[in-house]
Point group: C2
Chain length 224, copies 2
DNA sequence: GCGCCGTAGACTGTAGGCGAAAGACAATGG
DNA sequence: CCATTGTCTTTCGCCTACAGTCTACGGCGC
């Protein structure tokens, strides 16, 4: 036990740079999700290393991790290539996402307390304001936070981890298409929160399923 | 087109050793799942490297991958430790597994053809024979193959990949306890196949959910 | 005897280098 | 003119070496 008697967060815990590989990982993920690195592009280790000012080793480890999470394909003796999303895969990801989010909503409805509901409503209001102000970026960001909060309320770390991965990839596939999906989405969010507040597991599940299925339909009805 | 006129599989396609990191990965995974490496144990890179007759690099990359898949915890500047399963985590994994398997069953019911049903029934018969012969290992192996087949019929690669990961971890947590869960399990399998054969999505989902929930209940009712 | 500090050991994190495989391209033969 | 083959460059896979950091233990002061 610490004898200093200092409150937990008093000392800023002096921020360490952290392992280099992690920072490289985040940098590359950023470059991929922002489309700075295009799907199918060949990622040359030495190039990236030079560009980031580090050695090849951390780059390799970052690529390794990106590979297991499905962001890049690691062809043996040939190197890393940015993963190319296909129609089929996008559809499958959306299916899985629906599944995970629906379960999260159910668990959230089972666990939620009054404070949690309040937090959800705050987020929802924030999102609605963003939509009203036509601030698309803020709306998207708030949307992510709302879903994350629901996931947190579900209290299942394994589920949360899987959902986080799937979610980020879904967003990658889908951002260029559906930035306009605003108003309807937040109406559905209200409904979801109501269901959670009433602790109606079945309804929460159904609402969330319908919600994510809508985004999926929209994905397929695009480019027309 | 090849002008040699050789039949497709005539040349054994000479099996390459494959990337060393992958073999190290598999070796370590084997050691972990068989409990040769105990939970919480500190994995020293140089030690493993020397023991496997390779350098530290492939070992590092294998550990990296094992970390993202939840088999080891990678504490910065301290090294890799075999992940320690907790009650809570096991429960959460089983929840997720139930979810994924149930969805797989539903999709399988939607897609299955006559040939597929036959394959499932063959596997089921094989499993029942193994149970009758008290061959626990064979029964467990066949069980895995049956579930894998259902997953394959679902035709969703993303789902399959996630389920495979979750499944292996579940099995790791749960094998020491439940090797005896034999007969009842295969009765349920029969039911599941029947539901899939009738293309009854709802029933397939329910049966599979009940099936995996049983194994979960059993997990909690152990050590008594 | 108890607690703190300093030092030493061990292990990880990072860098650089060598051998080998895969792909590209030009030269050659039919 | 096309197919084939040899060579050549690029890039990966792996190994070795060095620097930074954490842990453990022994000595010292109180």
């Amino acid at each position: 036990m610490l004898s200093t008697g200092l409150p937990q967060g008093a000392v800023p815990r002096l921020e360490r740079p952290g392992p280099l590989r992690d920072r490289v990982y985040e940098a590359l993920l950023e470059l991929i999700t922002t489309r700075a690195l295009k799907p199918g592009q060949h990622l040359v280790e030495s190039e990236l290393a030079g560009h980031l000012g580090v050695s090849r080793q951390p780059v390799r480890e970052a690529l390794q991790r990106l590979s297991t999470e499905g962001w890049v394909d690691l062809r043996p003796a040939q190197g890393a290539f940015v993963h190319e999303p296909t129609e089929e895969e996008a559809d499958q990801l959306l299916t899985v996402r629906t599944l995970l989010e629906a379960e999260a909503a159910r668990l959230a409805a089972a666990n939620a307390g009054a404070a949690a509901i309040g937090a959800l409503e705050d987020l929802c209001a924030e999102g609605e304001r963003a939509v009203a102000a036509d601030d698309v970026d803020a709306a998207v960001a708030t949307n992510a936070r709302l879903h994350a909060k629901v996931m947190e309320l579900a209290g299942n770390r394994v589920l949360a981890e899987l959902a986080a991965q799937v979610d980020r990839r879904v967003r990658w596939y889908y951002t260029p298409v559906a930035r306009q999906r605003g108003r309807q989405s937040w109406i559905e969010h209200r409904e979801l929160i109501a269901a959670i507040a009433e602790r109606d597991e079945q309804r929460a599940t159904d609402v969330m399923r319908a919600h994510t299925e809508h985004t999926r339909k929209m994905y397929h009805d695009r480019e027309k």
